[in-house]
Amino acid sequence: MRGVCQAFGATNVLDRIDLEIEKGEFLALVGPSGCGKSTLLRLIAGLDSPSAGALSVADASLAFVFQDAHLLPWRTVLNNVALPLELAGVAPAEAKQRASTALADVELSHAHQRFPDELSGGMRMRVSIARALVIEPKLLLLDEPFAALDELTRQRLDERLRALWQQRAMTVVFVTHSLAEAAFLANRTIVMSQHPARIVLDHRLSLPLARTSALRTTADFSREMAILYQALEAHDSSDEART
């Protein structure tokens, strides 16, 4: 994307953002709440169009995971996951088969016939991820997907997601406000500032490809965290920073 701006009324939410996302990379977008990370993600998804600038997405098949699971309450877990295929006109039997595989990927094979209101928040989020994976997207966009979950569940899902990315040839863009999550998941992290939103750091993390929870306590991990933290703090224009 080149010089992408997004304004709502008089407020410039995004200001001349240039960003090239490479095929197959795991990119994390970090920044303070309300800095326009989610706006950027919606632009990439084509859910909104930019007020200025140009943006092109090469891969056609993309999937989006929202902050909350947003499942259809009247559908079973299996039918929720099969929905995108159903909408694309895939035959029901094949759709169920592929939905079942996607559910196995998020370790929910036991919950096919349950309904969303019978699941915990973490399980619902896994269903939401399975629904995104079922179309075998080339580009997976996630908007703070685990923000509402408790720390342990979140770390487990981070590990699962990282493993899934390694298994599949897909590009992932992950929006989060957690530096630790960004450092753990991504190969490349973009740090954004607020008012107006600009990219203040584009950093490739030098961490191993295969990541387990043990990584979080290593010195390498702390060093990467510190780099991200410094970039974030140097451009902090929030009220708390000024006072």
């Binding site: 998804a45 084509g46 859910l47 993309l62 999937a63 989006f64 929202f66 909350d68 947003h70 259809l72 309450p73 009247w74 929905l83 995108p84 159903e86 909408l87 694309a88 309904f115 969303p116 209101d117 179309i135």
Partner: protein, 263 residues
């Protein structure tokens, strides 16, 4: 005693006690003060009138129920279609919504003679009257429900390039169900009111007389006990229809796992 039974009883007892207390005070007051029966009949007179005229009243009740049910069915079918139509097109909504609102505000008694001219006296005019009175809440609640779809789910359907039909049947209509059910419940009570009012003007036909006609006839003969009986039955009819619609929509909402707004 199981807990649900206990809870059901606890919701039945208080109104029952109120009923008995009011009836007792009414009966004693009327007898003590020697109020003429054509002004306020004692409850015992009303009950005996209900018993004595039960055949006539039953047939009136069924006649009114038929008109109300027909009107309610028309309201639910057309109201839902109109609501969905409005929600699918801003232009359509802008062009027609004021006229839908007109149905809500028109004094039904005033246009009832027109209904007789257009549709013929009896069941047809009565059910159209019930329809006019009860259709607006169905339209408004359907529209509100269709508009209240989770925006993120709308995004999701857009992202997966869902057809208009798929979005309607797989997302918007099931999402709107709870709100629609509210409209149906309101319409059920209103349809009985619409039928009775319709009967006042348009009820005479083929020897069938609904409760509205019974009310008028009892009034002309100063049979106030019978008048009370007919009014009581009309209210019970409204309650019964409301309860049936509530139970049916409650089951539907549970099947779709969307929470309704209760009774």
């Amino acid at each position: 005693m199981t807990l649900p039974t206990k809870r059901a009883l606890s919701s039945v007892w208080p109104p029952l006690v109120t009923f008995l207390v009011v009836i007792t005070i009414w009966e004693t007051a009327v007898r003590l003060l020697q109020v003429p029966a054509f002004l306020v009949p004692p409850p015992s007179d009303i009950f005996s009138a209900l018993l004595k005229e039960r055949v006539l009243l039953m047939s009136s009740l069924l006649t009114t129920a038929e008109g109300a049910l027909l009107g309610f069915t028309l309201s639910v079918s057309f109201g839902t279609l109109i609501g969905i139509g409005f929600s699918s097109s801003r232009w359509l909504e802008r062009a027609l919504y004021p006229y839908a609102l007109f149905l809500q505000t028109v004094p039904i008694v005033a246009i009832a003679p027109l209904l007789v001219l257009w549709f013929g006296a009896g069941l047809r005019a009565v059910s159209v009257s019930a329809f006019i009175v009860s259709v607006f809440p169905v339209i408004a609640n359907t529209l509100a429900g269709m508009r209240g779809v989770d925006p993120k789910l709308n995004d999701l359907f857009r992202l997966y390039r869902a057809s208009k039909a798929a979005t309607l049947f797989k997302l918007r209509m099931p999402s709107a169900l709870a709100s629609m059910a509210t409209g149906w419940r309101v319409a059920s009570g209103l349809s009985v009111i619409g039928a009775i009012v319709g009967e006042f003007v348009a009820g005479f036909s083929e020897g069938q007389a609904g409760l509205g006609i019974m009310v008028l006839a009892a009034y002309r003969q100063l049979r106030t006990d019978l008048l009370f009986g007919a009014v009581l039955l009309a209210s019970l009819l409204g309650l019964l229809l409301f309860a049936l619609v509530s139970v049916a929509s409650g089951l539907l909402l549970r099947r779709f796992r969307v929470s309704g707004s209760g009774w």
